[in-house]
Amino acid sequence: MSKFVFDDSLRLGITLIDEQHSRFIGYINDTWDALERGDSSAEFLPILNQLLDYVVEHFSCEEALMREHGYPGYRDHKERHNQTAAELFDFDLRLLVNDREESAAFLNFLTAWLRNHILVVDKELATFLRDKGIS
């Protein structure tokens, strides 16, 4: 799996959101590294346990921005957050313990999801916010 680099193509121009995305990517990369080093899956479980916490914070933060600025796509965007949140809450992290293939599949899912989340869903929001003069 090629490294997931937070470059300009992923930068949306809204500082707070960009910061959180870049942290999120860093964190996915750490997990990839652990997997590639051949660490046992059990050893990156601590990182994964933080995942929900992280997602809850990020979604809440984006939604607060949307509400604050009266974003018309709020409902849709929040609904997408809900779908992902439900999947992650329901996902049984125990499946990853000692199963490298499951772990890689899970990380691929996260990577693909995050790319789409940034480049499709959040991009619209960022355009709206930038038009309002927010950065």
Binding site: E43, D53, V56, S60, E63, K78, A86, F89
Partner: protein, 417 residues
């Protein structure tokens, strides 16, 4: 020098220090309960921590609520200290000594057990017909929880989580009260209002607690009549509280609105958004969580993670979004008292958040072969090899209670700090 000693003890502001030194006032001390006689004019003026005049000498304190609020704030009076050797001085010493003794330290389980006893008396009184003394007991219990939770909320939450054989209505209310204090602190609700909120947490369902406990055993759907009773219980409860002499608007409003939901789907009034008071929103989150993690006749108890999932998914619709997020962050998927199996194979108890609530500190009491250990060993679950793998039922351990009791600091029985 007495002044210096007092200042050091109370950490008074510099402004006040110079003011006091200039005036050579010797006895400036924290206001105590015994300085106030209810219904009698105050013998001393009362000042804030920064020295501002709050109440003039001669002001009359009407009731206990007012007195307790005052005593719990950091407020001060100028009073000449009693002369050493005088009768007043000796009786003061004796009183202080007595207070110290009666306020002995107990472990969190004992603390919860004895206060659960008080709560059970309160609920009995509400069933028979409450009066002023019932309200005073709730106030006392709310104060105690408020004080104890400041340093010991993890221990209290754990002891409540691990409590066995308790009435659903009582232990759930106890849980809600502590959660209200924790979340209330987190969002910056002031101490006096928090005590009111805790009192609301303790009593939010007293208008239907017997029904609640009966329903514990039910498997059939609710009858129409039961359903009506439930829809009305916030109103019934408020009426009962008023009968007990509760006039505190924060307390009453939190109870009245604790089943109202942001999108208007709640009851009894179907209030929306800003029509619902913040204290009621806090109570609603706490109540939702405390109910979900307990078994009820018609459904199994759910894991904290599952309860938090539902709370998060209903954010902005039913539950206040900001509160939902803060609640999840504060509590985490492995709240204090949860029995956890680590990837090392060891089993232990989450004692409180480690670096974050997502990675609790865990005291393990079963080794990787499932053998009970003689002493608990603390594990940092962010470190390699000790991540939490899952929540499990706590297996029997020969020294379980003794080990558990040592996991949290002891609590002053009356919750004094």
């Amino acid at each position: 020098m007495a002044i210096v000693h007092l200042i050091a003890e109370k950490g008074l502001s510099e402004r006040l220090q110079s003011c006091m030194e200039g005036k050579k006032i010797i006895g400036y001390r924290r206001l105590r309960e015994q300085d106030i006689e209810i219904g009698q004019p105050l013998r001393h003026s009362v000042h804030s921590e920064t020295g501002a005049l709050l109440l003039k000498k001669g002001y009359v304190i009407k009731d206990e609520v007012q007195r307790n609020k005052l005593v719990n704030q950091k407020v001060y009076i100028y009073a000449s200290p009693d002369k050493p050797g005088s009768a007043a001085y000796r009786s003061g010493l004796a009183r202080a000594q007595q207070e110290k003794e009666s306020d002995r330290l107990v472990d969190v389980f004992e603390w919860v057990e004895s206060h659960y006893g008080l709560l059970a008396i309160i609920y009995q009184e509400f069933a028979r017909g409450p009066d002023e003394t019932t309200r005073a007991k709730v106030n006392l219990l709310a104060e105690r929880i408020h004080r104890a939770a400041e340093k010991h909320h993890d221990g209290l939450l754990a002891a409540i989580h691990l409590a066995e054989g308790k009435a659903y209505s009582h232990i759930k209310a106890f849980h809600v009260a502590v959660l209200c204090e924790v979340l209330g602190t987190r969002i910056g609700i002031g101490p006096a209002q928090r005590v009111s909120l805790v009192a609301a947490g303790l009593t939010h369902d007293v208008g239907m607690w017997q029904l609640q406990d009966e329903l514990q055993l039910r498997e059939e759907p609710l009858t129409d009549e039961q359903w009506q009773q439930i829809r009305k219980h916030p109103t019934t409860t408020v009426a009962l509280l008023k009968k007990a002499g509760v006039v505190d608007p924060t307390w009453l409003q939190a109870v009245q609105q604790h089943h109202e939901r942001l999108n208007g789907s709640g009851y009894p009034q179907g209030l929306k958004e800003n029509q619902i008071a913040q204290v009621a929103r806090v109570l609603a989150v706490a109540d939702t969580f405390a109910a979900m993690v307990r078994q009820r006749g018609d459904r199994d108890k759910r894991l904290p993670k599952e309860a938090l999932r539902d709370i998060f998914l209903s954010r902005g619709e039913e539950i206040d979004g900001t509160l939902a997020q803060l609640f999840i962050k504060e509590l985490g998927m492995f709240p204090p008292g949860s029995a956890c199996r680590l990837v090392s194979g060891e089993i232990g108890i989450a004692v409180g958040p480690g670096t974050s609530a997502a990675a609790p500190d865990v005291e393990v009491i079963f080794d990787h072969d499932g053998q009970p250990m003689k002493r608990a060993v603390l594990r940092d679950t962010t470190s390699k090899g000790f991540a939490v793998r899952e929540i499990v039922p706590l297996p029997e351990h020969p020294a379980r209670q003794a080990l558990l009791a040592k996991m949290w600091d002891k609590v002053p029985k009356k919750g004094r700090l």
